[in-house]
Symmetry: none
Subunit: 211 residues, 4 copies
Amino acid sequence: MLDTLIPPKRERRKQHRPGELLEAALDLFVEKGFAATKSEEVAARAGVSKGTLFLYFPSKEELFKAVVRENVVKAVTEGVLEAANFKGPSRQLLKNLMLAWWRRYGSTKASGITKLIISEANSFPELAAFYQEEVIFPAMKLVKDVLERGRMQGEFKNFHTDHTAMAIISPLLFLIMSKHSTALCHEGSAQPNPEEFIAQHADLIVRGLSI
Amino acid sequence: MLDTLIPPKRERRKQHRPGELLEAALDLFVEKGFAATKSEEVAARAGVSKGTLFLYFPSKEELFKAVVRENVVKAVTEGVLEAANFKGPSRQLLKNLMLAWWRRYGSTKASGITKLIISEANSFPELAAFYQEEVIFPAMKLVKDVLERGRMQGEFKNFHTDHTAMAIISPLLFLIMSKHSTALCHEGSAQPNPEEFIAQHADLIVRGLSI
Amino acid sequence: MLDTLIPPKRERRKQHRPGELLEAALDLFVEKGFAATKSEEVAARAGVSKGTLFLYFPSKEELFKAVVRENVVKAVTEGVLEAANFKGPSRQLLKNLMLAWWRRYGSTKASGITKLIISEANSFPELAAFYQEEVIFPAMKLVKDVLERGRMQGEFKNFHTDHTAMAIISPLLFLIMSKHSTALCHEGSAQPNPEEFIAQHADLIVRGLSI
Amino acid sequence: MLDTLIPPKRERRKQHRPGELLEAALDLFVEKGFAATKSEEVAARAGVSKGTLFLYFPSKEELFKAVVRENVVKAVTEGVLEAANFKGPSRQLLKNLMLAWWRRYGSTKASGITKLIISEANSFPELAAFYQEEVIFPAMKLVKDVLERGRMQGEFKNFHTDHTAMAIISPLLFLIMSKHSTALCHEGSAQPNPEEFIAQHADLIVRGLSI
DNA sequence: CATGAATGAGTGTTCATTCAT
DNA sequence: CATGAATGAACACTCATTCAT
């Protein structure tokens, strides 16, 4: 019977614990920030006691890093891989990448991490350093590589790589901040469709790079 | 009477207390964040005792709100209004506006308020609403007006006003966030010169809008 | 009236706080050991709240060090000074010193600190190091100086300074351990009179050093 | 039957469990003290799981008591009895006894028990009583018997038996405490050789007793 | 009004102990 | 019997807030 295949309860739970805790932590960190999230709350939301949390993650900071690895680092790595396998014009690759980034990361709950980091970096320097190393640098490199690819193929010209990379990334961050900060969210006015905004922005950039 | 013109030192000080506290609080909130700033520090920097702080502001949260309100109003009334009397090509106006914004606001301590707001908005919904009303909307309107001016004069074409306005504003916000968040500060790579970055970005946008 | 001379209540209490806390801490550390003494208990015994303790001492370890300085270091320093001013035969000085040590330190509650240190040194290396530096080394030096003084004057001969110093000190420590450890306390048998024991021991040593 | 003589491995292990746990606990208690020793560590060193420890000992405190009882009894029955059959001068017997005590007990891991007892006696009054009865009294009696033997034979004169016995024992305890307590360990100065120290001390005592 | 001594609820983390498997 | 996942009480230390002076 199928019953036979189901492992004993304890064992099954044990394997799911880290995932459950990570999910609870993601929710709460995004919702309330790092400092304001109490470890006991995380445990409670995952349905376990405070002690259990520390059985799986040695500290609140390590829990946070695990959340980042699970949700953000993964997204970057996926992007990098996808880019490496792309055949076609760089302007297409750039646009694809920007839209894929939104679909895969920006539009999800996980993008709240980015807002969190920007907000609390000064209070938690170690977390900030970790995030730079694992997320910011790889992401910037990805964008710059695409720009160089375009330059090599004669598609992109007359641009400053670092500045242009920032010009490409900044609206994406802006979208995230909008999404997660009530202050920037245009509740009254028509909230722009993010994918459309990204597409337009990509076009604007590409047009600018082509002359 | 002389009494009225030259109040005794203590009296004058007393009237300045709230302002001094607000200034000290701004510095510290910007530097360390809301949670990490201790009320005693604020009092000390303002040269008064802990108790006095609570004499003027009933709680740390209220102090925070006062800091935001005090500085936001200033920034807006000064900045946005000044900008609208320009004669000449819209592409020049746009560039001027962006650079002036940086010089007058982005590069000053006051820009820390923007970071504060964005970081803490979720914990203080009233602040978020206030900020939108007083800052976001007027600023967006200004940018959109310039874009429309350019369209009328045949300088700018083929663009979506809202999206382009966001594309213009987002790198400026990005610069602010960079300035105030360790996480985005490119310690390893060459930290880009903000004015150069803005100029390049303005050019990129203008080029994109001209075809 | 005298009333006029009495300073305001708060002020007077503030000046007495450290002393009250130090006394409470001494009691509890001696009674229960360092690890087993909770900071809240110390505060409670001194009649203040937990927070107040940390207003005067930055940590439990610093509180302990202050207790040592107040109670033990003082005793050593007094001994050193007294020794320096002594005129007379070294055998008399040695005996005086040992008896004075008992009267001034060994017989008091403060001697419990010595037992505490010996017991918990391994768990709190920093405290152990502090105690060695501030107490053990100076005390050993004092004893060795007296032995050398005796050798110079031809009173003491044929001895190994380090070993003899230890032979002199060890029974004093033994008395302390007896006093503070139920295990060594001869409840059934006649508990020997410490001063007599020290006198006899001093004689034994002096006799041994004279041939 | 063979079954009785060679029990299956598991069975044999099971019977040895308490002993293995006791040994592991001894090591760790001596090394790190009672409070600082985690029960999981004890179990791990004994090669069993945390749960198993509590199967054999209902609590950490009971484990501690068992460790003390197990080891103290051994040390006494072996040591004290062996010592009484000496022929020759009492001063030789005394010296022999002291050195033998060091070789057989003081220098071994087991001496850590003495330190344990003295350190924790106040928290475990029953243990203190037990230790006095089984160790302190017999040991004191042995020493006093030797002193009386010396007095009878005209070797030792002019001494107070109880006090002298304590003077003899205290440096031995001092050595143990030195060995097991960082606080008394003279890291800076030359750490004295224990056997030499004991020999010197014995000589000092004997010299003192002979005049 | 201003002070700063005093408070005590709150937080991350540890670890002896339990109990379902 | 043995396991080890789970528990939750405990503890040092912080800091916004109060209030006697």
